[in-house]
């Protein structure tokens, strides 16, 4: 479904590229961990996938189409197939839980009827039924992240991109969040998680792509975090 072909991304203010000559394929329905120390290029790969940035050299394909040549409209359609989950949740403070999730559908111009239908389902999936009226400031890190996940899945995305989703969540909640991703993946959604949480990676035995200084140093089908860093 997604293919990186010799992708390099250099930023102007840095000598070495953030991502160097990366080639990889992601099939539909895969669960992938992107691991590696800070500055290894995980976030850059996420941004490339979201087409927030363009590769300096190399090609990037989504279902046989070159993402680089996308028009503004294509980009928009493409992004609507992707659900993003952030380390800092990025919830709207002045909206409550329900409104934050509904927002993802409002932005896409979906009808109020459809929104009323889908938001409770998404909230139930992440186990937040009953918390609809709470505001982000009243939530724990784990709960806030589950709102973030509900917001990402409510539009039935093809792909979930999660950048350090457990970075601001305690250990117990982190486990639950990873379980959530696993169940989302079991329903056919491709999930790509960039993370530092080595114990969770080890436990889940999913495909692991390890990065170091912008290069892929390992790509294992049922891997662990490994301790070579």
């Amino acid at each position: 479904m997604i293919e990186f072909r010799n992708v390099t991304k250099s930023y102007n203010n840095s000598n070495h590229p953030a991502v160097a000559n990366v080639s990889l394929r992601v099939e539909r329905g895969e669960f992938i961990f992107l691991v590696g120390p800070s500055g290894a290029g995980k976030s850059t790969i996420m941004k490339l996938l979201f087409r927030e940035i363009m590769p300096t050299t190399g090609q990037l394909f989504f279902i046989k189409r070159n993402i680089i040549n996308f028009t503004e409209r294509d980009i928009l359609k493409y992004r609507r197939l992707i659900g993003m989950v952030f380390q800092d949740f990025r919830l709207l403070k002045q909206k409550n839980v329900y409104e934050n999730v509904a927002f993802a559908l409002e932005v896409l111009g979906q009808s109020p009827r459809k929104i009323r239908q889908k938001v409770p389902v998404a909230l139930e999936k992440v186990g937040l039924t009953g918390k609809e009226k709470a505001f982000p400031s009243e939530l724990s890190g784990g709960e806030a992240q589950r709102v973030g996940i509900a917001r990402a899945i409510v539009k039935d995305p093809l792909i979930i991109l999660a950048d350090e989703p457990t970075g601001n969540v305690d250990r117990d909640n982190s486990k639950q969040i990873m379980k959530l991703f696993e169940s989302i993946n079991e329903n056919g959604t491709t999930v790509i998680v960039a993370t530092h949480a080595w114990d969770l990676v080890d436990r889940m035995q999913k495909r692991v792509i390890a990065l170091k200084k912008g290069r892929i140093i390992r790509d294992e089908q049922y891997g662990g975090y490994a301790t070579e860093y």
């Binding site: 979201f50 503004e72 409209r73 928009l76 359609k77 992004r79 609507r80 197939l81 992707i82 993003m84 952030f86 990025r90 709207l92 927002f103 993802a104 409002e106 932005v107 896409l108 111009g109 979906q110 009808s111 109020p112 917001r151 539009k155 039935d156």
Partner: protein, 299 residues
């Protein structure tokens, strides 16, 4: 999955969003709308003045006459025929010397005995009174008539017309300059307000982009907000102007002055003026926010 970029649901959402935004920046919106109201009141006031001077000028114009004095031996019928066929003449009346004397007697209020001046002793010439269709063609018309055979001399309120034409031209220029300045001021105001609105929603805009919102979806509420502010400002300006103007009209009607200056009260003229003002204010608001968004909202 739906890929509609902007549909009826989005429009509803955008509308609600603008209302929320106005509510959140209530005081700022109020001050902006207030200043717009003040500037548009001045603008509207000028418009009303222009409409009224227009009316006064038309009044004067319709009263401007060319007096054509004839030689005793002139052929009045021939001259009448020529006047009737001259472009720019609205109407012409022949005043024989007897009638002229009669009018003179009346205007003198019969204070002077003029009995001895009737008949052959009448010192007045026959004359034509001509009204032009517009004041500014009077001088040219007078020159042409002067060339007619049998015409001794032509007279018209040369100075009055000259002054009138200059004042109108001058008023129009002043009006244009002040209105443009006020319009620019209103646009800048809206730009600033929308800029603050954009900045205060920067985080939300970022999230919207991640959620796949189209540019028009992000921009539209701000444009609406600007238009609403412009509209509110103009609406208050229109109300203030309406009340002040009404008072003025009532006042003028009581004064003797009203005999000379009759204010325009025709709703067929005033209503389009107010509606036009509202449309202009709303459009200015939209324009201001578009410029502001273009400069401050990188989507």
């Amino acid at each position: 999955m739906e890929v509609t970029l902007l549909n009826i649901n989005s429009l509803g959402y955008c509308l609600r969003q603008s209302i929320v935004s106005i509510y959140r920046n209530f005081w700022l919106v109020l001050v902006t709308a207030g200043i717009i109201a003040v500037s548009l009141s001045v603008f509207g006031g000028l418009l009303l003045i222009a409409v009224n001077t227009g009316q006064i000028i038309r009044n004067v114009e319709s009263n401007v006459e060319i007096a054509i004095f004839l030689y005793d031996e002139a052929n009045a019928e021939e001259i009448q025929f020529k006047l009737d066929n001259l472009v720019g003449v609205r109407n012409s009346t022949f005043v024989p010397k007897e009638q002229g004397l009669e009018e003179f007697r009346k205007s003198m209020n019969m204070a002077i005995p003029l009995d001895g001046l009737s008949g052959k002793n009448n010192p007045l010439p026959d004359l034509f009174r001509v009204k032009a269709v517009r004041a500014e063609i009077v001088p040219e018309l007078a020159r042409e008539i002067q060339e007619f055979p049998g015409v001794e001399y032509v007279e018209y309120g040369e100075k009055v017309i000259d002054i009138l034409n200059r004042v109108t031209g001058w008023l129009n220029t002043v009006f244009l300059v002040i209105s443009s300045l006020l319009a620019l001021g209103a646009i800048f105001l809206i730009m600033t307000t929308i800029r603050i609105s954009v900045l205060s929603r920067q985080e939300e805009i970022g999230i919207m982009k991640y959620l796949g919102a189209s540019n028009s979806f992000i921009r539209f509420p701000f444009i609406l907000e600007g238009m609403v502010i412009g509209w509110l400002g103009t609406l208050s300006a229109a109300l203030v102007l309406g009340v002040v103007y009404y008072r003025l009209v009532v006042l003028l009607k009581q004064e003797a002055l009203a005999f000379f200056v009759q204010p325009v009260t025709d709703m067929e003229i005033l209503l389009p003026l107010l509606i036009g003002l509202l449309v202009i204010g709303t459009l200015l608001g939209g324009l201001g926010s578009m410029v502001s968004i273009h400069r401050h909202l990188k989507v």
